[in-house]
Amino acid sequence: MATTWEPREQRSGGLAGALRHMRVVAEQYNIWSWIATVDHKKIGVMYGVTAFIFFLIGGLEALLIRLQLAVPNGAALGLDGDQYNRIMTMHGTTMVFMVVMPMSAAFFNLMVPLMIGARDVAFPRLNAFSYWVFLGGSIFMNVSFFTGDIFAGELGAPDSGWFSYAPLSSRSEGHGVDFWLLGLQILGVASLASGFNFIVTILNMRAPGMTLFKMPLFIWMTLVTSFLIIFAMPVIAVALFELMFDRLFDANFFNPDKGGAPLLWQHMFWLFGHPEVYILILPAMGIVSEVLPTFSRKPLFGYPFVVFSGIAIGFMSWGVWVHHMYTTGLGTVANSAFGISTILIGVPTGVKVFNWMATLWGGSISLKAPLMFAIGFLTMFTIGGLSGVTHSMVPSDFQQQDTYYVVAHFHYVLFGGSIFALFSGIYYWFPKFTGKLLNDTVGQVHFWLMFLGFNLTFFPMHMSGLLGMPRRIYTYSDNQGWDVWNMMSTTGAFLIAISMLVFIANFIISLRRGEKSGNDPWDGRTLEWSIPSPPPHYNFKEIPQVHALDEFWHQKYQEDAEGVPIPVVAGASADEEDEHDGHGIHMPSPSYFPLIAALAFPIIATGMIYDYALVGVGAVILFFGIYGWAIEPATEGEEGHS
């Protein structure tokens, strides 16, 4: 993938000259093609790899949690309450903000331009900026572990949970919560930038003929998710600023002793937090809505219903946040209203499940790994949804609030739902970006290990929860009847870990020696399968003209009056092997300014905690990055492609 640059016209300035020199050196090692890239595919790969690394880190934290709780009295690992709280906090924060969200962003990046027939996103440099800000924020937050005296067993990470309820968080000693709130603030910038980017991309850059209702469902879900992101992130940003003022400048937003309101934090956190749940699940639903039709060789059943139920979920997600706060004493009227709205949000979700099932009905279902993971999503998400109904009922929830029953519920939705669907997406689209198939047999082994491990981990948590085991405790005594369920959970967690090793091995070996996939290994339906694997830098030699939903399928098959497909004689246009050097296609130039601008954020955040002088340094870097970005020409004339 070596990319060559024409030497730019010499400009004055020592710093710019030095940077140019660095660029030439890095180019020799091909590093620069990643660091300065604005190509949505490379950014998508970086998002995916980074999110997976954080998945392993968050998973390691999960294993520590499970080891600690394997037997009563923490006898297996012997963490103290302080260490446990910090590890637990980072597990939740990592999995939500550094794994599922960026992994979804990876798919947005990789797939959106390809599926809508575009050459890149609307704002390629902003896209690179999003990634670098995300990376910086994630590293910043994880560095907090090492700010304690770790050799003495003191971790420096945040300790107030991923929800950081005030006033526990506002009074937490040390810098852990400062790292948490500033880190989240940084990650919010990344999410906002990519949210706007994908909204503009989807609304403006669709291929001619692709009306909104001819968009693939994944694109619809990306659009809804992006809107949720741009409305939800500002809410948490405000809450985080208030927490920052309480902690760093002695404000009293959440301090009850000075008239502040602890519950204010919860309202804002969950007003963000519940749409956030759908930010995590809607992309997964989008992936499954692509995989199920392809592997059943049938169109998605009731496309408009699935679209509208997705939009309905988006709207309704703003009206259910109090179900996280039933026990805080908001009164029975508030609890009834939010109880009913919570019960009703199950309906559009149920509609989707029925539509997916109807998609399978009458299909010709290929039980390959992508489908198996999609089925894993469908079956496990259903369980998570139903257990959600049982504690949407306020009286019943009083018993389950903050017990392992809730832990079981949301892991069925977020792991059984999102993570399974994301793996489905990885198995499905891997060939598009590598030209090789992930080994299916190993994929099946991976699926069943993960599926069994997942259920062994999280199903017993329903039980320990109903037996009254509270969340977030680092130890429990042996007379509670929780032992057997916890031991099962711990065993399952290690099974999941083994399944991840299987996946990693499959990924690496298939990347090197995998079976060649061709352009369209699954008899795909959407535009990405009409172009070579891996796609050229410019994606589409010619921007396609779209005539129908599932455009590429309709290029391959016509339907007779009864809906029976007949292959088009000429075959698909998939196998264009003619050499095209992209001559005449102008793509955005690589740029290092997004990285420079993004670098400023962790520096400013570090300055907020340790020394305000660093804030000034960060501000200068930010100014330099944005200024350079603004005056840099967006396209740089002809470029070579490979």
């Binding site: 109903l466 405790i473 429990y476």
Partner: protein, 268 residues
Amino acid sequence: MMRRRSLARFLPLFVLLALLAMVLSGCDVDTPQNTLNPEGDVAKKQRDMFYLAMWPALGIMILVEGAIVAFLIRFRRRKGDGVPKQTHGNTPLEIVWTILPAIFIVAVVGIPMLPVLFDIGRAPKDTAYPIIVEGQQFTWVFNYPEIIKKADGKALSTFDEIHIPTKKEIGLTITSIDVIHSFGIPRIAGTRDAVPGQEELMWIKVDKPGTYHGQCRELCGIDHAGMLITLIAHDQEDFDKWAKEAAAGVKRSTDSGDAAVSGGEGGE
């Protein structure tokens, strides 16, 4: 042969069902914090509500999961299969499966929940026996306004151990002096948050004398796991006796072992 192999593929699902059976068999076991083995009025209503939602949910789960597995077996791709008929949807059918579940879920779960919610959530009656519950890192303090200590004329306090009379409504006032805690004794009543600066009213009622256990449910710091609650329900006669002795400063060994009745020093 083919059929058996495809069934074997779904063996793990049967393992799942076996797990489910294990779960259901564990419902009424005698463990200290079992939410499904209630003694208190509130907890009984809460358990009934849970079953009201759980049984239909379980039925739907088995139907849906079973259907998915059946579809996968029935419509799996066989050698020589052509491309199936392209069904795009069925609007009347989809309207039905949107409206029906909405009506079903509101009728079965939503409406029946409301009277129970208003009952559980009402303020304690005027005749209820008052106790003030105060969470603090990492102790529960229980103040009894109706038990005046002889030594200093102040209300009695106990730590981590709450004594109540049976067959009588208890009116709890729940608050916290530092961070948010949550007061719950699963066999008596579900949890209620103890929020600093806020006073929550809650009623409980227990008919059977005995010792019941609970613990803090909201993360409150390093020793969140150690913030245990013991509730001792006495019949009225025994309770009066306990109250009298406690007011006089007599220490009495209790069921939990280490006595937590405060005499003079901790009552402030």
